[in-house]
């Protein structure tokens, strides 16, 4: 523990080395968070099976302090989007994300969650969860092996290491905003595109700059 946390610039007397560590607040705060990321019990498709295998004895996610899978979003830190995001399911996923307390992280596990994957062209498939919620780590693979998922989790730990109490959004002045929940209509409706949709009504599709609306 000492090596991981201590600040080499400030020397600790030899006789206190086994009991005392001098470190920064950021470092110990992040160390605590990175070693106890609780994922949500949230399986969508094939990737969920590999996620369960990662949690099982052979790959043993507990080595990273992440074995505490919580069935409720209220107690979870990390949402592993493990599988194909369909239009029928995406309203629920966004609601679950909104229900998670800050600090919260999202991992897109596998090709489907990252960008639609092999099913991208399907009429009921959302091309990647990042169209709706912000993603912290993308894990490639179809499905990613447990090793790949663990690598992704280590990348998330690195990301947490780089955050600072001074700048993180959940201690900021403004409350973080909920993502508007998509609605199921004749096709999936994104409330953020309401104006664009209203303008399109009764018209042939026109070419617009899509970056603006995303």
């Amino acid at each position: 523990m000492n090596d991981e946390l201590s600040n080499p610039d400030i020397p600790v007397p030899d006789e206190l080395q086994s009991t005392v560590t001098i470190t920064s607040l950021d470092k110990i705060y992040n160390w605590g968070r990175r070693s106890s990321i609780w994922p949500m019990v949230f399986g969508l498709a094939c990737c969920a099976i590999e996620m369960i295998c990662t949690a099982a004895s052979r790959f043993d996610i507990a080595r990273f302090g992440m074995e505490v899978f919580r069935a409720t979003p209220r107690q979870a830190d990390l949402m592993i989007v493990s599988g194909t995001v369909t239009k029928k399911m995406v309203p629920q996923i966004v609601r679950l994300f909104n229900q998670m307390p800050e600090p919260k992280y999202v991992m897109a596990m596998g090709a489907c969650a990252s960008g639609g994957g092999p099913f991208k062209e399907g009429y009921n498939v959302v091309s990647g969860i990042d169209k709706f919620v912000p993603v912290d780590v993308y894990v490639p693979g179809c499905p990613p092996t447990p090793q790949a998922l663990l690598h992704g989790l280590m990348k998330l730990q690195e990301k947490i290491d780089g955050q600072s109490l001074k700048s993180v959004r959940w201690y900021g002045q403004e409350a973080s905003e909920a993502v508007p929940v998509p609605v199921l209509g004749p096709d999936l409706l994104d409330p953020r595109q309401h104006a664009l949709l209203a303008q399109q009504a009764g018209q042939m599709p026109v070419n617009v700059d899509i970056e603006k609306d995303l």
């Binding site: 599988g83 029928k88 629920q92 099913f119 009921n124 209509g185 209203a198």
Partner: protein, 597 residues
């Protein structure tokens, strides 16, 4: 609901003189039924007017008492939609298929639910995908897509938002060496499209009110204590639903009065994508149907297309196919048992033991096929590759020998030893979710669900495929049809599978071809229809493939055992406590990739 008279059926089989043949039927229904004479097609075409009568005769007089599959095909050039039914005799023997053709503008077909209750969800799927109205269906609403969705996606003239061309490979897939994203073509930057007259400001979403109202509630009359019914949604995000599955449950206290499954949360359009793909491109997609049994899925699809192509599979490849299919069965049942125990409240521990055994099998898959789960291993006419010489620092053959002779049987015994006589397992499982044999057949259930109810129906026997006829194994059955028997049947089946694997390793030729002919990426398949099926761990997995002589399937339908098995879920749960619904669902063993496809 079931109107069948069991004794009458038996008489037909015992007196061959009295047996009604299909020729008699054609004569009797003069003009309303005819043989399907198109090139490469079999079966009968029935007119919708007397469809009910004909189906009853098929069931009661010809003995086709088990309706395995219902699906549709849109023959847009002939301007009709065809609804295709496959039926079997539960005692074994050749199956039958019959079709109803209706026009595309106003397709109406009489429902078969009163004759074969197992048609319920499958007819709803045809309605959802093709817009065929099944007259008299008790609950005809969309099943995979949501109410209010625009259009019938599997019709040939319906195009998805990212539509590029009718068939693959697309010209645009690598334009000038640049990556092209489909999002760039959509004004919304997303995979969405709306009808041209859609007016968002004067529109309101569909609600689930009608679904909630359709549930059967308690009748307050005649009860001394006034109670209220409540409706509870279990899922789609719920730890016990084995994926994204939703059960809408009407409760009286803790007792279930009605249960309606809602699915489609993982509907990822296998069939629409499959009809754009080339035949071979579909092979990796089959892995992702029942993703706990990908080798079995490969097997079924390979069989269906091989039937059309008429290719033979070399000897050694046949043995490896059987070995892989049986290892898959053990891996799947391990998982099913582990997670059934999870549902019973033995959280995690039994599952850890089961997963540990499954990992050994996955190692074989990874070494041989290159992937743990998505094996993409079988080809039309053989296999993708042979065993590697070494795996995990050992000789591969030695590793597999040890696995099937020692390690897997030990793992099975271990589970059996810890669980079978366990007091809690017994008290939670015995007598819960009882399914009678008659109901199991009528509701078209398959696999362990059917055999736990005492029906000895296993495609490896009744419609033997591959080289299963060479092996010595039993088809285990149990008689009570409750959750406990469904658990026991899985243990029995794992033992039988291990036995088959041992025989494979004993008899397999040590060398030989594993593929017939030259491997090809794109090839034409002779026109016609084909129904290839295997006994997957969860039941009968069937592929209905129609080819029009081109390089892409004209129709690609998957008869998924998990999906059809769910038809009976509501019936099984009625009268039980809400905690038992979770266990009953676990004992059916569904995988959502296959339920929703």
């Amino acid at each position: 609901m079931v109107e069948k008279n069991g004794t009458e059926k038996e008489q037909d089989f015992n007196n061959p003189d009295n047996e009604v043949t299909s020729d008699h039927i054609i004569e009797r229904f003069n003009g309303d039924i005819s043989a399907d004479t198109r090139d490469g097609y079999q079966g009968y075409i029935v007119s919708p007017d007397r469809f009910h009568e004909v189906a009853k005769v098929f069931r009661d007089e010809l003995g086709y008492d088990y309706l395995s599959s219902v699906t549709g095909v849109d023959y847009i050039d002939d301007d009709h939609i065809e609804v295709v039914y496959h039926a079997d005799k539960i005692v074994g023997g050749e199956g039958i298929n019959f079709k109803v053709q209706v026009n595309r503008e106003n397709p109406v077909v009489p429902t078969l639910v009163p004759i074969y209750p197992g048609a319920d969800f499958q007819e709803r799927e045809v309605f959802d995908m093709y817009g065929v109205h099944f007259e008299g269906h008790p609950n005809l609403r969309r099943i995979l897509m949501w109410d209010g969705f625009d259009g019938y996606p599997l019709r040939k003239d319906w195009k998805e938002a990212y539509y590029e061309e009718d068939v693959k490979p697309f010209d645009t897939r690598w334009p000038g060496g640049q990556v092209k994203r489909s999002e760039a073509d959509s004004p919304y930057g997303k995979n969405v499209s709306y009808p041209p007259d859609f007016d968002i400001d004067n529109w309101s979403p569909e609600t689930d009110d009608s679904l909630y109202e359709s549930l059967q509630k308690t009748d307050p009359k005649g009860k001394s204590l006034q109670t209220d019914s409540i409706v509870v949604n279990i899922g789609p995000q719920h730890p016990s639903t084995h994926g994204v599955f939703r059960m809408v449950v009407a409760l009286d206290g803790e007792t279930i009065t009605d249960l309606q499954p809602v699915m489609g949360y993982l509907h990822r359009n296998h069939e629409k994508i499959g009809e754009r793909n080339t035949f071979l491109q579909n092979m990796p997609y089959t892995d992702r149907l029942d993703y706990l049994a990908s080798m079995g899925n490969n097997f079924g699809y390979a069989l269906a297309v091989e039937k059309l192509m008429g290719v033979e599979v070399p000897e050694r490849a046949q043995y490896i196919r059987v070995l892989m299919a049986e290892l898959t069965r053990i891996a799947n049942h391990m998982w099913a048992i582990g997670f059934l125990l999870n549902d019973l409240g033995a959280f995690q521990t039994p599952a850890l033991y089961a997963i540990r055994a499954r990992e050994l099998i996955l190692d074989v898959f990874e070494a041989t096929a290159g992937s743990r789960m998505m094996c993409n291993y079988m080809r039309f006419g053989g296999l993708a590759r042979d065993f590697p010489s070494q795996m995990r620092g050992e000789d591969t053959i030695k590793f597999i020998d040890d696995l099937v002779n020692n390690r897997l049987p030990q793992a099975i015994d271990e589970l059996d030893h810890f669980l079978t006589e366990n007091e809690i397992v017994r008290s939670r499982c015995i007598g819960v979710g009882v399914l009678s044999a008659e109901k199991a057949i009528a509701y078209s259930t398959a696999g362990p669900l059917l055999r736990a109810s005492g029906v000895s129906y296993d495609l490896r026997r009744v419609d033997s495929y591959g080289i299963y006829d060479r092996f010595d194994f039993q088809i285990p059955t149990r008689s009570n049809g409750d959750v406990y028997d469904r658990y026991l049947i899985r243990v029995d089946e794992m033992r039988e599978s291990a036995k088959i694997c041992q025989q494979v390793m004993r008899d397999i030729p040590s060398e030989g071809e594993i593929f017939t002919g030259k491997p090809q990426y794109n090839f034409r398949v002779p026109a016609g229809e084909s129904y290839g099926r295997v006994e997957n761990p969860k039941g009968e997995l069937g592929y209905y493939v129609v080819s029009n002589g081109k390089a892409n399937p004209y129709r690609y339908h998957v008869r998924a055992p998990s999906f059809v098995n769910l038809t009976v879920l509501g019936e099984l749960c009625k009268g039980h406590k809400v905690a038992d619904a979770v266990v009953i669902l676990g004992s059916i063993d569904i995988v959502l990739g296959e339920v929703d496809r």
